[in-house]
């Protein structure tokens, strides 16, 4: 058994802030005494990641994804709990630790805004002490997969979001880090750019064994990249496991969609504990819980009762799964 590359236990981050009351009197009072409020952005999160894994870290807005990433990258100090990444405690050994990781925040750039991209790369080369030879090889790889040479001589502010993201990804990997953190790496990108970014990540993971932890709102990122997902909500860990079992656990529901010649009466729509709902004219859907009834017997039931002209079975989409988690939590 290899040593995990990321080990997080009991991780908690509490933000303290001062409540601002309305009105002049309250404002004056706050000069003397301020009301402190505490918000636990992340509470008691525990997981480990093995080398070479690609893990999706998902949750609704404000669930605590970014806060977790910021603690894992040494930017924020945990209120309590422990983190060990690459053998370092991130906030304690920050300077040495960050030399061994790559980080991309989709909403920001780590490149210098007003100067040519290539100057940023040259600076990063010096910071990480990359040799001339390695640098050349690295840049060649980035150009083959990401095609960055086309805009190396432009300042970052003149790049499109997709171009900028490609450069940022390249920048985060210039020193061949074994561990890569991505916070919303595909946010705002068009389909082509997204596909390009995903391909690149797959290639880096396959060829260099780079371990990747990524947060995203785009679940097709997760579906193409990650076999394992961690779901957090309101700062708490809800689920940690394979994507498929998340789907089974949350939505063990398959829909049978069928078309009919003659529209049935409302009373006919409820049968044997199943409920058909109209989704279009002459088209109905029945959601079945496969723990209770098999898809085959549900189809038989439907065919017996209605004059079916067409029928299809739909597996739940991961989007649906996650929407349901965000809405209802995990039972």
């Amino acid at each position: 058994m290899t040593e995990p590359i990321v080990r997080v236990s009991g991780l908690t981050k509490v933000f303290r802030s001062y409540r601002r009351e309305e009105g002049l009197a309250a404002a004056l009072k706050s000069l003397v005494r301020r009301v402190q409020t505490e918000i636990a952005a992340v509470s008691d999160v525990t997981f480990v990641i093995e080398p070479g894994e690609m893990v999706g870290y998902i949750g609704a807005n404000g669930a605590g994804k970014s806060t977790t990433i910021k603690m894992l990258t040494g930017i924020l100090t945990p209120t309590s709990g422990e983190i060990v990444c690459n053998g370092f405690v991130p906030d304690r050994d920050r300077t040495r630790y960050v030399a061994t990781i790559g980080v991309v925040f989709g909403q920001r750039t780590q490149l210098w805004w007003d100067i040519a991209v290539v100057e940023s790369f040259k600076l990063l080369k010096e910071i990480y002490g990359v040799s001339d030879e390695d640098y050349r090889r690295r840049m060649a790889l980035f150009d083959t997969v990401l095609g960055i040479n086309a805009y190396l001589h432009q300042p970052v502010r003149k790049l499109s979001l997709g171009e900028r993201m490609r450069c940022d990804l390249a920048a985060s990997l210039i020193h061949r880090p074994p561990l890569l953190f991505l916070d919303e790496p595909t946010i705002g990108l068009d389909i082509v750019a997204k596909a390009n970014v995903r391909e690149f990540l797959q290639e880096i993971n396959r060829k260099e064994g780079t371990t990747v932890l990524l947060t995203t709102h785009d679940l097709s990122d997760i579906e193409t990249l990650c076999r394992r997902v961690i779901v957090i909500d309101h700062g708490r860990l809800l689920f940690d496991g394979p994507l498929a079992s998340l789907r089974d656990r949350i939505l063990p529901v398959t829909s049978v969609v069928f078309d009919v010649k003659r529209a049935p009466e409302a009373v006919e729509l409820r049968f044997n504990g199943l409920q058909a709902r109209e989704i279009a004219s002459h088209r109905y859907a029945v959601d079945i819980d496969r723990r209770a009834i098999s898809a085959a017997s549900a189809v038989k039931e439907i065919v017996n009762r209605f004059e079916v002209t067409d029928l299809m079975i739909e597996e739940p989409q991961i989007e649906e799964v996650v929407k349901r988690i965000y809405r209802e939590g995990i039972a």
């Binding site: 040494g74 930017i75 906030d91 630790y97 920001r108 600076l123 910071i127």
Partner: protein
């Protein structure tokens, strides 16, 4: 304490230099501002000297030179590390400096050094020449005075950088330091000896001031240029200037280390 890695540090200086090239309008406005300031103080001092031939042991040409030298080196040592850090805190860009394996103070100081190197060549030098042509400025008192002045002006940069770094760190706690920045500019211009020579202050205020780092920003290099201080006294001032710089840079490291756990990155 982290040893400063020279190559990355110089790379940050290079970035600072390149950044300065990005905005031209600011450059031209800057030149005019300095000329205007020197002109204003030139006329003020001329009026003052109408009533007495010397003020605190300085003649009118010396005082004009003091003002001109002061503003000229200000164009070099000036930096906005504090405003920069405050902006990083407010916009959450600070995170980007934290994910790099380089000491934050090194990054900020050398980035500013690159900007100052740019200023020295393309800003301070032309300003100095234009001022020398427009106003009756005296040459340095001696070769030794000139050399000591140059060294002192460079140390001034690091002294101001160390101070501004500390001021910038306040933003980590308070988020906004706009008020502090405005106050700092006013106070520093007076206390550094830029607007009036520090020796003009009455006792005991003058002694208190000379026990602080502030006069070393502007008074010390200007006095060295004029030859107002020489020999052992010059050495003492240079030593004090350097000692304050090292002390404040060290203090910056300590405060930075203590502030880090208070960082909250806004947004994202």
């Amino acid at each position: 304490m982290n040893a400063i890695a020279v190559r990355p540090a110089m790379s940050f200086a290079r970035i600072g230099f390149l950044n300065m090239l990005a905005y031209r309008a600011r450059y031209y406005v800057g030149v005019l501002t300095y000329l205007f300031n020197v002109a204003v103080y030139y006329f003020i001092w001329r009026a003052v000297f109408r009533h007495s031939p010397t003020v605190v042991g300085m003649t009118l040409p010396q005082m004009i030179t003091y003002v001109a030298v002061g503003w000229t080196i200000r164009s070099f040592y000036f930096n906005e590390i504090d405003r920069d850090i405050a902006g990083q805190v407010q916009e959450g860009r600070l995170a980007m400096n934290l994910i790099r394996p380089v000491n934050f103070q090194t990054v900020m100081v050398f980035d500013a050094a690159g900007q100052s190197a740019f200023r020295a060549a393309l800003f301070t030098l032309p300003i100095g020449i234009v001022i020398a042509l427009l106003f009756p400025v005296q040459p340095p008192a001696s070769i030794a005075a000139l050399l000591m002045f140059l060294v002192s002006a460079v140390v001034s940069f690091f002294l101001v950088a160390a101070l501004n770094f500390l001021v910038g760190l306040i933003a980590i706690r308070t988020k906004s330091i706009l008020g502090i920045l405005r106050a700092k500019y006013l106070v520093l211009e007076v206390l550094s000896g830029l607007i009036i020579p520090t020796t003009l202050f009455p006792q005991p205020f003058r002694s208190i001031l000379f026990a602080s780092p502030f006069p070393h920003i502007n008074y010390t290099p200007a006095a060295l240029y004029l030859g107002k201080v020489t020999g052992a006294e010059a050495g003492r001032l240079l030593f004090l200037q350097a000692a304050w710089t090292v002390l404040l840079l060290g203090l910056g490291q300590i405060v930075w280390r203590r502030s880090q756990h208070r960082i909250t990155i806004q947004g994202g």
